[in-house]
């Protein structure tokens, strides 16, 4: 027999039978190819379109780009779908819903993150209500960068996913892993908030002065306010020293 059996560490009746019949292992790889062709040529899409990337996604399904020619039909139910395309910002409130929909999709399933918000949160990353990338809670196969990416880029993402399905059917190891927890310092605010001891006192003065230059705080005695704030923080530090 052509196959080297020396490394086998497991046994299964079906596998043993397949190995005994000459030519059957060749046939099963052929069947694998046919099955993977079936998977990659009928990628039914479940869209999670939450913002402007969703508008570009509509162009992907429309006639000019026409994802339908790859067999990618947009479906309204997660139970009919193979690919979840997350296009747009996912908020903390939306994330459990997306996870629930992902869990409702039958295997085999894939996920595509479209746009920089779905990939990393982009400039909404530090906001209290936004998830910094959907790969913090579901495994993502293909990332399509852009803000928003054009429909051709999304089509390219679909083609890359087809390549990936083909590769994994031919035995290459392409396991997905959720990204680890984002690093702490990336979430800290760029400017210390009011009352933060690390906030420079000059910043207070600049911000109040810019507000005053707009005519908002006409009757505000700026110097007095800043003096009082300084004495307050001095008192606080005194208290800390006493304790």
């Amino acid at each position: 027999m052509a196959v080297d059996e020396s490394y086998r560490t497991y046994s299964h009746p079906v596998y043993d039978f397949m190995m005994k019949v000459p030519g059957l292992d060749v046939m099963t790889t052929t069947v694998d190819k046919i099955l993977s062709y079936g998977s990659e040529a009928s990628l039914w899409i479940f869209p999670v379109a939450t913002s402007c990337c969703g508008i570009e996604f509509m162009a992907l399904a429309a006639s000019r780009v026409d994802a339908d020619r790859m067999g990618a039909i947009v479906r309204g139910s997660p139970r009919h779908s193979d690919v979840m395309i997350v296009a747009g910002t996912i908020t903390v409130k939306m994330a459990p819903r997306v996870k629930k929909l992902w869990d409702q999709m039958p295997e085999p399933k894939w996920a595509i993150a479209v746009g920089s918000c779905a990939i990393s949160g982009d400039f909404y990353r530090d906001i209290y209500s936004v998830v910094p990338g959907i790969d913090t809670f579901i495994p993502v196969d293909v990332y399509v960068p852009g803000c928003p990416p054009n429909p051709e880029a999304m089509m390219h993402g679909l083609l890359r996913l087809q390549e990936k399905i083909r590769a994994s059917a031919s035995g290459r190891d392409l396991n997905r892993e959720a990204r680890p927890e984002p690093i702490q310092h990336q979430r800290l605010p760029r400017l210390p908030i009011l009352g933060d001891p690390s906030r420079p006192s000059d910043l207070d003065r600049q911000q109040v002065a810019s507000a005053a230059s707009l005519g908002w705080w006409d009757e505000l005695n700026l110097d007095k306010a800043l003096e009082l704030a300084a004495s307050e923080s001095a008192n606080e530090s005194d208290d800390e020293q006493k304790t």
């Binding site: 209290y128 979430r187 800290l188 009011l194 704030a229």
Partner: protein
Amino acid sequence: MKLLGAENSPEVQQLLIEQFSATATTIGGPPEIAVDRHVELAKILRDEHQYRIFGFVVAVHYPTRVKEATEAGEVIRVSYGLRSVGKGTRLASWQLCVPVGQSVPTLVYLFAGADWQEREQYDLVGVRFDGHPDLRRLMLSEDWQGHPLRKDYAIDTKVHPWR
């Protein structure tokens, strides 16, 4: 006397000053009135001055650090605006100033449109509306801790398990 908040029509300004002893604030915005006469003012504006559309309610948190500017301690300032179709004026607006933790009387029973807007302000700033029939969170998830538009809300507050 001219109050800040020039968008009020002369008629409404006169009403605010003479009947409600409204004052200009040091930080700008519409004229300030007492909290306990707030519903009365809204009722008069709705019934006698044709302001029948609820425009907005916006709350802003002023922390202790700027209390000398407001001279009232740590406060939440709540601004209201009503709109009128018949009058042809833009809006009638006023503001309230309450210490943090004190509630504001609701306007839901005068204007149905105030319902969700008051819920939003409760959600984000944490000002409570007395007598609101259904004061739940509107924008954020139900199990959220704290009110994110307060100035003392730490921006890196950890939200389990997606943040």
